[in-house]
């Protein structure tokens, strides 16, 4: 990292933000699946789901839907990195006197911006569906912080298939299991209705603690340990995914 790093990242960030600006369909397709799920669960299945003392089901559901939004959004990050690798532009950047990690950081920051937009779109739709929150500014900032860390963790994870995949399908398919992870968590139904082993998995995987933390913040409920567990998961995932992605990157750039 040197003094050029920020200038180079800014130039490359401008480039990939233009890509998003010129193909807004990437934002729309990212948001459309979670919105469809939200409609399905609230208006079709939700009536039969008991969530305990929570009020409206859409309030209960939204945190999990936001995580699904991010999980589907990062597949575009893998896709964009894959295209740079296949076209010659990645090699052009690597043969230029630029800070070498700036190419990846630009994609990562672009992913953060794109996912932020998608998340806002989904929240707006949720508001139209009757979602209401009594959360204050600090609570919302905490929610934004958790979502940011979650996005960074999944984005650095997405960098790995982006760099290594041999086909477009391979580059974007890895996100499907991530989209399904919220189903085996507290995102849609409380975990205490699940059979033993499933419940054990659900309660100890990162999505549950992240969902519970966001739900408590938005619902003005006591946070308990969920916030710290969620932060530990997110920071741990960011660190591991970053280190792994960077080692893959270094092996690619000689």
């Amino acid at each position: 990292m040197n003094k050029r790093f920020f200038g180079d990242v800014t130039a490359l960030l401008g480039r990939s933000l233009r890509h998003i600006g010129r193909s807004p369909d990437t934002i729309i397709t990212t948001a459309i699946t979670p919105i469809a799920m939200m409609l399905l669960f609230v208006y079709v299945l939700g009536g039969a789901i008991r969530t305990g003392d929570h009020g409206k089901y859409v309030d209960y559901l939204l945190p999990g839907i936001l995580l699904i939004t991010i999980a589907s959004g990062i597949s575009y990050t893998a896709y964009r990195i894959f295209l740079d690798m296949k076209g010659g532009i990645f090699e052009r950047f690597q043969s230029m006197p630029i800070a070498r990690s700036s190419v990846l950081w630009a994609h990562v920051l672009t992913s953060v911006v794109a996912n932020l937009i998608s998340v806002v779109v989904v929240i707006v739709v949720a508001l139209l569906m009757g979602f209401r929150s009594g959360a204050g500014v600090l609570d919302w900032l905490a929610v934004a912080g958790i979502l940011l860390l979650f996005t960074l963790a999944l984005t650095w994870l997405a960098v790995i298939p982006g760099l290594t995949a041999s086909s477009v399908e391979g580059a974007s398919a890895f996100s499907f299991p991530l989209i399904f992870l919220p189903f085996i968590s507290s995102a849609f139904v409380p975990t205490d209705s699940m059979p033993g082993p499933v419940r054990a998995f659900a309660e100890h995987q990162p999505v549950t603690s992240v969902v519970n933390a966001i739900r408590s913040l938005l619902g003005d409920q006591p946070l308990g340990d969920d916030l710290w567990t969620a932060l530990a998961w997110c920071l741990g995932l960011v660190a591991v995914a970053y280190l792994f992605a960077m080692s893959v990157y270094r092996s690619k750039i000689a």
């Binding site: 050029r4 200038g7 180079d8 130039a11 490359l12 401008g14 480039r15 233009r18 890509h19 010129r22 193909s23 076209g87 010659g88 532009i89 090699e91 052009r92 950047f93 690597q94 043969s95 230029m96 006197p97 630029i98 750039i253 000689a254």
Partner: protein, 262 residues
Amino acid sequence: MTEDVTPTIQVKGLEKSFKDLHVLRGVDLEIARGTIFALLGSNGSGKTTTVKILSTLLKADAGTATINGYDLATQAAEVRESISLTGQFAAVDEILTGRENLGLIAKLRHQQDPGRIADDLLDSFSLTDAGGRKVATYSGGMRRRLDIAMSLIGNPPIIFLDEPTTGLDPQSRLDVWDTIKGLATGGTTVLLTTQYLDEAEQLADRIAILHDGTIIVEGTLAELKRLYPPATVEYVEKQPSLEDIFLAITGTPSAAGNAAEN
């Protein structure tokens, strides 16, 4: 050549294997400043691998190289300051416009006034009219011209061109040739790989033939010609080649080349 006799590119014993495939088996090269050097070879002979190693994209298994006075292995950052790579496939951003592509590279090369640099280059490569269009709409020849224009930003003293005319139509090919000749006239050192013998013959001051991972012969065109049986005189009716006919029918004077020589 009298004031500066140190070769600007010096390569000794370069070796590279991909698993069991021994691509380079000891390549030696010396390229003088301001000359066009053609690395000639068939597909799979190791031309691209050589260029990738010299442009710091791949690490050699063995051997040393000095580029513009910098050691390839230990001063990669300085080497990257000195070179520009135009790879085998046009390395342009399809979604950006031509002008934005040039501006991006100018920013990454830390130039003052990227906008003016972009406009000047669009002008000298006859791309001004297309400058505001997405590159996805460009023809192969326009893409290659933009690609080469991007490589000139920051005036790197050494330019690597990996098969610059593969897949181009005859007119675009002539335009690219004119551009390359213009570069060497301006003092840039050009290392060019090609599988077209006439391309090397047209452009290169010196030619090396890479075969099975080593340089089997190296010299000027005249030197190479002396290695082979003396020319015999035959009388053959001069028929126009299909290329001559094609250019005569469709021919417009080479605009990009004329401008690049200014």
